[in-house]
Every structure is written in structure tokens, then in C-alpha cells.
């Protein structure tokens, strides 16, 4: 892969760098495999890949503590892997099998894990924002000190319910971090064609919500911003907005003709801003790891992803009785 123009110096520990590298690589390899399985017809319907945006979830998970909650949109595979959900269970849900997190009944866009406090996986653009606000409402009500990460894209940022949520979260000082993953394209519509302002993080100002823009391709910057935000929320000061400037390398979904941007634009980001490559260079430059050690990690991750893919193929389709279960408690 081409070298980044500049790899920033880092005071991040070797252990943290290796963890970031491993976790981001897992998401990327997992998503590449998902793309393959989709091409083979094993994954159906919509499939929205997270490739390019890995630093956002990995950095923020590094700022979360046990009990914190997260909720996101339909581009959710990365969020699930980053919060520790089993790649096998996620992949088997993509293939619609019994071994999937929702036993094959949710699919790519609708997955949950009570154990990991992952509240979906929502297919309606923007719906996860008031839901995440409600998760934070519950934390405050139960006084458990938890914080919720409510992720949404630059496209969802134009939904009215986002601002209804901002208002209530600020009014009631709810411990919610609104993470705007600005990958610059809402499906095929660029931010400048859809937003009256280029700086989405300022949209909380009218509600008195503090916001900041973050280089979402730099996992250390993301983690640091996450720590500022969680500290702010946990101290009872109310919501916080983080706008992650990021980029999605793949199409909106698998059926994206990609006519709205040039190949060169994508290539340039990959070469100059790639989050994984950045950490890889820091590891090598800081002599924290050798090429061989990194290759060994690559191999290990590949094995995890291959196992997940294999599981997702051999896990049986749900039993026909499953059609009628889980409708009511």
C-alpha cells in the first residue's frame, strides 16, 4: 500500500497501538469478506460496508467502559465487532442463519446484543438518535453512571428527529454522545449538496450542546475526543457532539454505481489518510513491531474472519417454526 504523506508522532503506548491495529484490521477484513459473500449470493438484501471508517468505532470503544451503551444505523457491522460481539454471530446473521445474533431474523441492518449493550442496527435513517437519547434517559433515571454513544451519518443529520432529540437531551442533561460519522456522502448526495452548513458539529449550538470536529481517520484523535466526551457526559453536564470527519471507500450499499465521486478522490483518501496504514506506520517507526509481527497479526485476523465466514455457511437456516417466534414476549 502506498505510504501516507505524513505519519504523526504518537505518545500512544505500544499495547494500545497494537490493539487499535488489530481491531481496525478485523473490521476491514470482515467487511471485505462480507463483500465477497454478498457477491457469491450468500448475503442477501442490503449490505452496507464500513470500510474506511474503522477508526471511528475503534477509537470511541477505547473511551467506553463496561456498561456504556451504543446504537447505530444500518451500517453497523463495524460497531458490533468493535464492542466485542462475536464475528461468527455477526457473519451468520448476514447470511441469515440460525447462528446469527438474531437467529437470522434481523439481517445486516438489524442486530442487537444485550450482553454487549448494543441496541441495534436500525434501518430507518435517524431513528437511532432518539432511541439512543432514550438509552441515556434510562441511564440517568437508573443512576447507573452509563453513557450512550448514538452514531449517525451526515445524511441522518438532516432528519428532524435528531433536533427533537438534541432539545430533550440538553433540556434534561442526558448522558449521550452524538457521534456524527460524516463520511461526506448520504448515499449518493454529497454534504455540500444536502447541508446548509459544512460543519455539522455546530448544529447543537442552538440547543447549548458542545460539539467538536475530529479527524475520524486518526484513531488516537478519535479516542482522545471520546475521552473528553465521556468525561463530560459522565460528570452530569449533558450531551456532547462529536463530528467524525471520515470517509467510506465502498459504495453506500453493494448496489452502488458510484457515479457521484471519482475513483481518484477515493484513491487519494486511501493513500493519504487511511487509518489502519497510519497505525501500521506508527508501529513500525516506533519499532513497536516488526514487519513479521504485523504479518502474523494479519494472518491471525484472516483466520478469525475465515472461521466466521465458514461458520456463516455451515450454520443452518433457521427452523421454519422461527417464523412465529419472538413476535411477543
Amino acid at each position: 500500500m502506498a505510504a501516507r504523506k505524513s505519519a504523526k508522532k504518537s505518545n500512544t503506548s505500544k499495547e494500545d497501538l497494537l490493539t487499535f491495529y488489530r481491531e481496525m484490521l478485523l473490521i476491514r477484513r470482515f467487511e471485505e469478506k462480507s463483500g465477497q459473500l454478498y457477491g457469491m449470493g450468500l448475503i442477501g438484501g442490503f449490505c452496507h460496508l464500513y470500510i474506511g471508517q474503522e477508526a471511528v468505532v475503534v477509537g470511541l470503544e477505547a473511551a467506553a467502559i463496561e456498561g456504556d451503551k451504543r446504537v447505530t444505523s444500518y451500517r453497523d457491522h463495524g460497531h458490533m465487532l468493535a464492542c466485542g460481539m462475536d464475528p461468527k454471530g455477526v457473519m451468520a446473521e448476514l447470511t441469515g442463519r440460525e447462528g446469527g445474533y438474531s437467529r437470522g431474523k434481523g439481517g445486516s441492518m438489524h442486530m442487537f446484543s444485550t450482553e454487549k449493550h448494543f441496541y441495534g442496527g436500525h434501518g430507518i435513517v435517524g431513528a437511532q438518535v432518539p432511541i439512543g437519547t432514550g438509552l441515556a434517559f434510562a441511564d440517568k433515571y437508573l443512576e447507573n453512571g452509563g453513557v450512550t454513544f448514538a452514531y449517525f451519518g451526515d445524511g441522518a443529520a438532516n432528519q428532524g428527529q435528531v433536533y427533537e432529540s438534541f432539545n430533550m437531551a440538553s433540556l434534561w442533561e442526558l448522558p449521550v454522545i452524538y457521534v456524527i460519522e460524516n463520511n461526506q456522502y448520504a448515499m449518493g448526495t454529497s454534504l455540500q449538496r444536502a447541508s446548509s452548513t459544512p460543519e455539522i458539529y455546530t448544529r447543537g449550538e442552538a440547543f447549548g450542546i458542545k460539539g467538536e470536529a475530529v479527524d475520524g481517520m486518526d484513531v488516537m484523535a478519535v479516542r482522545d475526543a471520546g475521552l473528553r466526551a465521556t468525561e463530560y457526559c459522565r460528570s452530569g453536564k449533558g450531551p456532547y457532539i462529536l463530528e467524525m470527519k471520515t470517509y467510506r471507500y465502498r459504495g453506500h450499499s453493494m448496489s452502488d454505481p458510484a457515479k457521484y465521486r471519482t475513483r481518484e478522490e477515493v484513491q487519494k483518501v486511501r493513500e493519504e489518510r487511511d487509518a489502519i496504514e497510519h497505525v501500521r506506520e506508527l508501529l513500525l517507526q516506533g519499532k513497536h513491531a516488526s514487519e513479521e509481527e504485523l504479518k502474523a497479526i494479519d494472518k491471525e485476523i484472516k483466520a478469525v474472519v475465515n472461521d466466521a465466514a465458514e461458520f456463516s455457511k455451515v450454520s443452518p437456516e433457521p427452523a421454519l417454526e422461527e417464523l412465529w417466534t419472538d413476535i411477543y414476549a
Binding site: 451503551k69 446504537v71 446469527g100 445474533y101 438474531s102 437467529r103 437470522g104 431474523k105 434481523g106 438489524h110 442486530m111 442487537f112 446484543s113 444485550t114 441496541y119 441495534g120 442496527g121 436500525h122 434501518g123 430507518i124 431513528a127 438518535v129 432518539p130 432511541i131 439512543g132 437519547t133 432514550g134 438509552l135 441515556a136 434517559f137 434510562a138 441511564d139 433515571y141 437508573l142 428532524g160 428527529q161 427533537e164 432529540s165 432539545n167 430533550m168 433540556l171 417466534t325 419472538d326 413476535i327 411477543y328 414476549a329
Partner: protein, 460 residues
């Protein structure tokens, strides 16, 4: 010339009220716009302003008088130099509060679609109420409040949120007293932001709380219907049973009175179509209480459809520590042999009135109140139709894809050979609700239509 001041109607559905307090006394000079008195209805306390200037000649109805009918003379205003005793020549003046319309003239009374007198079912004793249980006359409004209060005492995770539920004591006074007892943490006034607070409450439910969301009316839930259907109803299925969304969406549903097209519609059939939702639509106060308690304990999302016009109606409610009405069990209000009338919610009023009238003509109608539309008690309906061989359904919603249509299909499938006449589905008319009093009356289902339909299916 002396002028009578009449008891004002302070809302479209007000029929009587309490003259809480006079703020002027006899002999006071009154300017137009002065506050004369505080009038209390079952919904709110309102100030009553003077329309004309003059002198308060005589107060006819004392402070604290309850049950003062709209348009009753409550005082006499006189002009300078007139005597307060000059009542016989008093001319009625239109009683008018700043925010209230003049009550309809006497010769065309406002449609009073709800009986003011208590309704007692002519039914066999309910199995779930022990014999000898004391009954107390309670309004539907109080029954709903009691249900919420009891469940909030029982479970700390239950809370109420909505517009005007706390400090205002409820737009329709259903949540009266709850803020005082449970505090602002659990009785929460929201901004006017249905989409937002419905999503928020759904998220809170997914995280383990038990929200009761009050919609001022279900018309406004249209702003929030995505979260009711796409979030609340589908969470359990989409999560493979990992997560539930135990939440109650409640509020006034259906036509009120003279509020026009955007505020008058019945959503029963809409929500009844959604797998993952439970849908309740009580008629009596006892059912309102028992079903709401069930709804709050339900681990599933519940749409709970109330009706403004019956909030103030009193019914017998059993005095029990924990009166619960299960979902999916219809109630036979009246046993009969000639025809089955199936209804729910306010439709029950027309069904029962029709059954009374029909009885006088020798027609014995069995009247079934479905109480919940999802789950729906098909068996009770089918068994009744197998006995009577005829069926009329009554509801306020629109005719296309109505609950009646669904029941007709079910009856056809399960009891075709028992039918002696086609089932008739009575519904509201297939029009947006008009404002004009005569047209509104025409748009709604009526007792007479029920009587006529029963005569048609019994070939009388």
C-alpha cells in the same frame, strides 16, 4: 336592562361544571374583560370573563355549586339605576368565555353522544371478580389515573411522559395528582415533540424502563408512528428475542366533538394490523382500569386507545387491590339469542343503546365488547354467531379494511354454515370528518343505524 349571565361551555364537550368561585360580589361594577368567576369542569379550571359592562346585580348560583348545566342562569347584571330585584325582565345574554364558543341554541341541542347517567351492564358476573365485591362508581378518567398510580407504586421503573401530563395535570386531566405523588422524575412534561419523545421512550424501554407515553390525542401520534411500528413493534423479532420494548402508548382516540378532520379519527384498525403490538380499546371504566394495568405490566408494546367523550362517564369499578383484565378476552355485556352485535370502545355505547331499544321490540341481541383488538377474542365472537346466526359489527373507524371487515372474513371462514344473513359492518362514513354539526353527526355511526342493521339481518 337586566341581563342574565349563563353558565358557559368552556370546551366542545362540556355539559356541566362546578362554579368554583365568584371573583366579584353583588354591587361590584364590572368592566368588559373582568374575570367574573372560576369555573371547573372535569378537565380544567377556567376563568370566566365578562362580555359586557355593568353592575353585578344578583348572584344566582353560589360558590362551590357542582353540576351546573351549561346555559343555566348563574347571575344577573344590571345597569346603573336598575334594581337587583328586576330579574323577571332579565334577558338572557350569550354566555361567553374568551376561548369558548357560544353553546348551541336550545332548539338544536349540541349532539350529546354520551349518556351522562351511569351505565350498568346487564351481564353475568365476571369470573375474575369475586362475588360480593364492592362496586364503586368511577369515571373512565379516574379509572385510568388509578391504574397508572397503582402500577407506579408497584414498579419504580414505570414512568409517564407526554405533553402537559405533569404540571397541567393532563390535557384531559387523566394524570391528575400523579405529579404530586410521584414527582417530576416519573411524571414528565415533554416539549411538543412527538417523534422525538416516542423514539426516546422506546429507547428507554429497550434499556429496561417501562414508559407510559401519553399522546394528547392519537392524531398527533401520526408524527411518531415510525417509532411505534418500526421501533417498538419490531424490536423483539429483529433481535431474535434478545430485547423487548415494554411500553404503553395511550391517549384519546377517535372523534371528539366538532374538532374537524385532523383531530377526529379512529386508529383501531391501523394499529390492529401490526404484529408485535398489542392493541386495547376499552369502553367501561372497569375495563379501562384493568386493561391499562395489564398494558403496563405487558412486556410488549401496547397501543391503548381511549376516547375523550367517555372520559367523564361513570361505571361500576370493582373495589379490589389489584383488578386486572387480561388481553384477548372479550366481554359479553348482554346475552341474547337473535343477533350478535360486536363492538369496542365508544361503539359499545351505540351497540348497548340499540340492544335496549331492540329488546322493547322483542329482539334479543347479544352484545360483545372485544376490549382488545390484538389479541382478538375470535372464539367468543364465533361461538355467539353460531348461536344467533346473525352478526352486526359496530365501530367508529372508516369502512375500508375495518375491524368489522376482518371479523366478517373470520366468521365466513369459521361459521359460514351458521349464518342466516350476511354480516353487516357499521362504520364511520368514508369521509374526512366535517366540522358542521349536522354533517359531523351524519359521518358517525349511530344507534339508529345499529337498530336498522339488526332489523335487516333479522329480516324484520
Amino acid at each position: 336592562m337586566a341581563t342574565e349571565i349563563l353558565m358557559p361551555a368552556l370546551s366542545p364537550t362540556m355539559e356541566e361544571g362546578t362554579l368554583a368561585k365568584w371573583l366579584v360580589k353583588e354591587g361590584d361594577t364590572i368592566q368588559s374583560g373582568d374575570i367574573l368567576a372560576e369555573i371547573e369542569t372535569d378537565k380544567a379550571t377556567m376563568e370566566f370573563e365578562a362580555v359586557d359592562e355593568g353592575i353585578m346585580g344578583k348572584i344566582l348560583i353560589a360558590d362551590g355549586s357542582e353540576g351546573v348545566k351549561v346555559n343555566t342562569p348563574i347571575a344577573v347584571m344590571i345597569e346603573e339605576g336598575e334594581s337587583a330585584d328586576d330579574i323577571s325582565s332579565a334577558a338572557p345574554a350569550p354566555s361567553e368565555a374568551a376561548s369558548a364558543p357560544v353553546e348551541a341554541p336550545v332548539d338544536t341541542p349540541a349532539p350529546a353522544r354520551v349518556a351522562a347517567q351511569p351505565i350498568t351492564p346487564v351481564i353475568p358476573a365476571e369470573a375474575d371478580i369475586p362475588a360480593g365485591t364492592e362496586m364503586r362508581q368511577t369515571t373512565v378518567r379516574e379509572a385510568l389515573r388509578d391504574a397508572m398510580a397503582e402500577e407506579m407504586r408497584r414498579d419504580d421503573t414505570v414512568f409517564l411522559m407526554g405533553e402537559e401530563v405533569a404540571e397541567y395535570q393532563g390535557a384531559y386531566k387523566v394524570s391528575q395528582g400523579l405529579l404530586d405523588e410521584f414527582g417530576a422524575k416519573r411524571v414528565i412534561d415533554t416539549p411538543i415533540t412527538e417523534h422525538g419523545f416516542t423514539g426516546l421512550a422506546s429507547g428507554a424501554a429497550m434499556a429496561g424502563l417501562k414508559p407510559i407515553v401519553e399522546f394528547m390525542t392519537f392524531n398527533f401520534a401520526m408524527q411518531a408512528i415510525d417509532h411505534i411500528i418500526n421501533t417498538a413493534a419490531k424490536t423483539r423479532y429483529m433481535s431474535g428475542g434478545q430485547m423487548s420494548c415494554p411500553i404503553v402508548f395511550r391517549g384519546a382516540n377517535g372523534a371528539a366533538s366538532r374538532v374537524g378532520a385532523q383531530h377526529s379519527q379512529d386508529y383501531a384498525a391501523w394499529y390492529a394490523q401490526i404484529p408485535g403490538l398489542h392493541v386495547a380499546m376499552p369502553y367501561s371504566a372497569a375495563d379501562a382500569k384493568g386493561l391499562l394495568k395489564s398494558a403496563i405490566r405487558d412486556q410488549n408494546p401496547v397501543v391503548f386507545l381511549e376516547n375523550e367523550l367517555i372520559y367523564g362517564t361513570s361505571f361500576d369499578v370493582p373495589v379490589m387491590d389489584d383488578y386486572i383484565v387480561p388481553f384477548g378476552k372479550a366481554r359479553i355485556w348482554r346475552e341474547g339469542t337473535d343477533v350478535t352485535i360486536v363492538s369496542f370502545g365508544i361503539g359499545m355505547k351505540y351497540a348497548l343503546e340499540a340492544a335496549d331499544e331492540l329488546a322493547k321490540e322483542g329482539v334479543s341481541a347479544e352484545v360483545i365488547d372485544l376490549r382488545t383488538l390484538r389479541p382478538l377474542d375470535y372464539d367468543t365472537v364465533i361461538q355467539s354467531v353460531m348461536k344467533t346466526n346473525r352478526c352486526v359489527t359496530v365501530e367508529e373507524g372508516w369502512p375500508v379494511a375495518s375491524i368489522g371487515n376482518h371479523l366478517s372474513a373470520t366468521i365466513m371462514e369459521r361459521a359460514f354454515d351458521y349464518l342466516d344473513a350476511p354480516v353487516i359492518n357499521l362504520t364511520g362514513k368514508d369521509v374526512p370528518m366535517p366540522y358542521a354539526a349536522n354533517l359531523e353527526k351524519l359521518a358517525l355511526v349511530t344507534t339508529k343505524e345499529v337498530i336498522d342493521a339488526v332489523k335487516a339481518v333479522t329480516y324484520r
